[in-house]
């Protein structure tokens, strides 16, 4: 697979901090992700991964620190802003509207409007087009069995996750952040997601992937950024470490192969 | 035509004519209160005597829109006679006209409707001597204070002609007593506010000797506030009769006196005028009903005149007790 423009930094996070009242959840997160790269974000439960994702998504405002998109410093103060910056997110809690149907969720805020100019102005929806599109998208990720008109609350856990994934991927974003996107998926669906991620990154998208499945990470990712209690403790090429070493890093232990300082080289 | 009267009667033949006509009647009131219940009761009794069938009674919760709806609904029943008190003459007028067009004879209580002509549009108005009642209330205040003292006024702050006129008649009449001064006036929108108003008034003016309130139900709150704040000697004067305040009066509480009209008689008169109009008789434009000034001494008699019913049991008991207490006085 050919990685394009690997040297272009798409996303850079510099010394990010986040407090919730007086609990200091992110205590200095720094890492970079290049164009077309798949970066794993690893860490134990409660390490702060989702909090970081929320900061990138504009759902939370970091207390301190910088986020650079394509080299420019940005204040991501709302999900709309994140969207405009080309960031798309699969949230751990999916953030779907359970009462609304699958199509409605897939196209919320990205509705396909009627082609007639007048109706288009009014925001008149082209329901047919959306359904056709949705069917195509679902097939791509093994979601053929999902009934388009069913409210999301009636889908199985895995089916809901597929819907959230498709929604995020369909945004045509340059940076896609995925918070445990395969946690509820079966093996076959998992593989389809892995193939999709490969495809997207080959097309130049930057992927930040959170996963507890180290096997998947080893197969898929170029680099791994390890968080421990809200701090980045390592940022290393996946090929250079074993899974055991990664586990050690995640539980706060130093390991022989990589020193925690090693990752400071990546810092600008 | 256009004459005023204090009574209206039907001769036996006229009554017989009415009975033969198999008439129907409806009533569309503005709201509900013991007073309007007494009017309804009087009217129903009279209608029954005259063989007229009462087909519907509505009350509008003091909301003109509701009254308009009520009147429109009543058109479907095509009553021959309609007794009504209009909440707001302006907005109810079109609906009355609709009823009148379909042949209904309209008898009004208290409030006239501007632009309606007597005989053509309506059969007559039965009303209180509003001015007289206001003056009588002023007399009562003077009597309570021995012509000298400070008065508070708690009045109904809404567009409602009867009470508005009565209140201003009271104010005007009180000016005839040079040593009686109105020191505070507060308006209420809903009658459950009067306790708050009275309490506030007494805090600002500890030395008020008497309070005038627009009507009986509103006076209950005033008496409650006076009682709780310990103003035993402040007298309350109002209009209409209510058991609760009469008991207070009988027991020598804050309630000093009230001016009562005769709702039962009003109902009877309205019914008769409606019946007369329905068989094509001439009817008086205005029919005015007398009122009574009620104090501790004439409670029982006044009740009988106003409501034509037995005195409520509790009130009877209290009156008996207080007479016993009064003996050694």
């Amino acid at each position: 697979m050919i990685r394009t423009a690997l040297d272009q930094i798409a996303l850079q996070v510099v010394d990010l901090h986040k407090y919730f009242e007086d609990s200091h959840v992110l205590r200095g997160i720094s890492f970079t992700a290049n164009r077309g790269e798949v970066v794993a974000l690893l860490g134990d439960n409660g390490a702060g991964k989702s909090t970081l994702v929320n900061c990138l998504a504009g759902k939370l405002l970091p207390t301190r620190g910088e986020i650079l998109i394509n080299g420019t410093k940005q204040v991501i103060n709302s999900p709309i802003k994140a969207q405009n910056l080309g960031i798309s997110v699969v949230y751990q809690d999916l953030a779907l509207i359970k009462e609304m149907s699958v199509v409605e969720n897939l196209f919320l805020n990205r509705e396909i409007m009627h082609s007639n100019t007048l109706l288009n102005r009014l925001g008149w929806l082209d329901k047919k087009a959306m359904e056709m599109r949705a069917n195509k998208l679902l097939r791509r990720l093994g979601g053929e069995g999902i009934e388009l008109q069913l409210p999301v609350s009636m889908l199985s856990g895995g089916q809901q996750q597929i819907v959230a994934l498709i929604r995020a991927v369909n945004a045509g974003a340059n940076i896609i952040v995925m918070d445990e996107p395969t946690a509820a998926l079966g093996s076959e669906q998992c593989n389809q997601v892995i193939r999709l991620i490969r495809l997207l990154s080959s097309q130049g998208a930057t992927i930040v992937l959170i996963s507890h499945n180290l096997g998947q990470v080893a197969k898929l990712c170029d680099r791994a950024v390890v968080l421990y209690q809200g701090q980045t403790v390592a940022d290393i090429a996946v090929k250079e470490v074993t899974q055991l070493e990664l586990l050690a890093l995640m539980s706060g232990k130093q390991c022989d192969g990589v020193s925690a300082n090693q990752f400071s080289e990546y810092k600008s | 035509l256009g004459h005023s009267s204090t009574t209206y009667t039907l001769t036996p033949e006229q009554s017989a004519n009415v009975q033969g006509a198999r008439l129907s009647a409806a009533m569309a009131w503005h709201g509900s209160s013991p007073w309007i219940s007494a009017v309804t009761k009087g009217a129903k009794a009279e209608f029954k005597r005259l063989g007229i069938n009462v087909i519907a009674v509505t009350e509008a919760h003091y909301d003109p829109a509701k009254q308009v709806s009520d009147l429109e609904t009543l058109t479907a029943l095509k009553p021959d006679i309609l007794l009504s008190l209009s909440v707001d003459s302006l907005s109810t007028k079109p609906s009355y006209l609709q009823l009148i067009k379909s042949g209904t004879k309209l008898v009004l209580l208290s409030n006239p409707i501007s632009g309606f002509s007597h005989g053509a549009d309506f059969a007559g108005i039965v009303k209180d001597d509003v001015k007289g009642m206001g003056e009588a209330a002023a007399q009562l205040v003077a009597k309570a204070l021995f012509d000298k003292g400070r008065v508070g006024v708690i009045y109904h702050e809404a567009n409602y002609p009867i009470t508005n006129h009565r209140d201003s008649a009271f104010r005007k009449a009180l000016k005839r007593f040079p040593d009686i001064k109105i020191v505070s006036e507060k308006g209420f929108v809903k009658k459950n506010q009067t306790a708050q108003l009275a309490a506030a008034m007494m805090i600002q003016h500890h030395d008020i000797d008497a309070i005038y309130v627009s009507w009986d139900a509103a006076a209950e709150g005033v008496i409650e506030a006076l009682r709780i704040s310990g103003h035993k000697d402040t007298k309350v004067i109002t209009h209409d009769l209510g058991v609760n305040n009469l008991i207070d009066m009988a027991l020598g509480g804050n309630m000093f006196g009230t001016v009562s009209d005769r709702p039962n008689e009003m109902g009877k008169l309205m019914a008769r005028i409606g019946a007369g109009a329905a068989i094509g008789l001439d009817t008086p434009l205005y029919t005015q009903v007398h009122f009574n000034t009620v104090t501790r001494e004439n409670i029982a008699a006044s009740w009988q005149i106003a409501f034509a019913t037995e005195l409520p049991k509790l009130l009877q008991q209290v009156l008996k007790q207080s007479e016993q207490v009064k003996v050694p006085e």
Partner: protein
């Protein structure tokens, strides 16, 4: 216990019709006047402004906002129109009244979001303020309306035998129904009402959407005010004041949740009509007003109970 779809469902209609029929038959036994065309047109006319108020509240609720000020906006709008009509004519008077309604709604929405105070409280404040203001403005007098075009447009007249008020009701209901079923805005309103957090995460401008919901609610309430004024040929400070509870009842019966994210336009229309029919039938039946109230309570519970059971099956 699973929440139902946020979509507008039309299939509940059947059950309402059923309930209506039950109610109708209850009265048939008592009064034949009930079944005249005249009487049915009466009911339609009487309930028209209330239907529009209920739709207004529905729009606010769809986005999860509660608007208690609609009653007061009704009074204000009617009054403003009545005051402006003699001098400025029907166009300016209506436009000013409607814009004012929309502006008050927008103000409510903006303030509630800016201060992060529930819309319930803000609109309660606005309601109390406006109640005072219309009393002040009107001097507690009714203002007559003599303007012919206004009365023709908003009043109790008819076009080809169909009451203008019915046309208004149907027109507004159809438009709002379309917004919720076929237009992007409708989706965003419902998404915001069902789950603000998720809608925001998906990039919906939930603040804008909620302000739009409140403005639309204010606008429609103002329109209800014009319809009231037209029907009564006058405006009064008490207009719409006491209808809030009817409107809430109608909406709840209609199947719209007070928690947001759901909307049921035709359910609401039928809900108001159901209550209108109840009032009308009970008056025609000749009961005293105490008994009328008691029966109203019982029938309400029974009718709704039947509806809900039928819907569940």
């Amino acid at each position: 216990m699973m929440k139902l779809s946020a979509q507008v469902t039309a299939n509940t209609l059947v059950y309402y019709t059923f309930v209506l029929t039950v109610v109708v038959f209850t009265f048939v036994l008592h009064s034949s006047a009930f079944f005249s065309v005249e009487n049915w047109l009466n009911i339609v006319r009487q309930t028209a402004p209330i239907v529009v108020m209920a739709i207004a509240l529905n729009v606010a609720l769809s986005a999860g906002q509660l608007d208690l000020s609609i009653g007061a906006v009704v009074a204000l709008s009617g009054l403003i129109a009545a005051l402006l009509l003699p001098e400025y004519g029907v166009v300016i008077a209506s436009v000013v009244a409607l814009s004012l309604g929309g502006a008050i709604g927008a103000f409510n929405g903006y303030l509630s979001l800016r201060l992060a105070v529930p819309s319930l409280i803000i609109t309660l404040g606005t309601m109390v303020f406006l109640n005072g203001f219309v009393r002040y403005l009107s001097g507690l007098e009714s203002i007559p309306i003599l303007n012919k075009p206004f009365l023709a447009l908003f009043g109790g007249g008819s076009i080809w035998g169909v009451p203008t008020l019915l046309l208004w009701v149907l027109g507004i209901a159809v438009s709002v129904y379309c917004v919720f079923n076929y237009v992007q805005l409708g989706r965003h309103l419902l998404a915001t009402g069902a789950n603000v957090t998720a809608a925001r995460a998906m990039g919906v401008n939930t603040i804008k959407v909620r302000i739009i919901a409140m403005s639309l609610s204010g606008f429609l309430a103002a329109l209800a005010g014009l319809l009231y004024a037209g029907r009564m040929q006058s405006a009064r400070y008490t207009l719409g004041e006491s209808e809030l509870i009817t409107v809430l009842a109608a909406i709840a019966i209609g199947g719209c949740s007070l928690l947001g994210g759901k909307v049921s336009i035709w359910g609401t229309v039928l809900g108001v009509w159901l209550i209108g029919i109840l009032n009308n039938g009970l008056i025609l039946s000749g009961f005293s007003s105490d008994v009328q109230m008691m029966m109203k309570g019982v029938i309400l519970i029974v009718a709704v109970g039947i509806t809900f059971r039928a819907r569940k099956q």
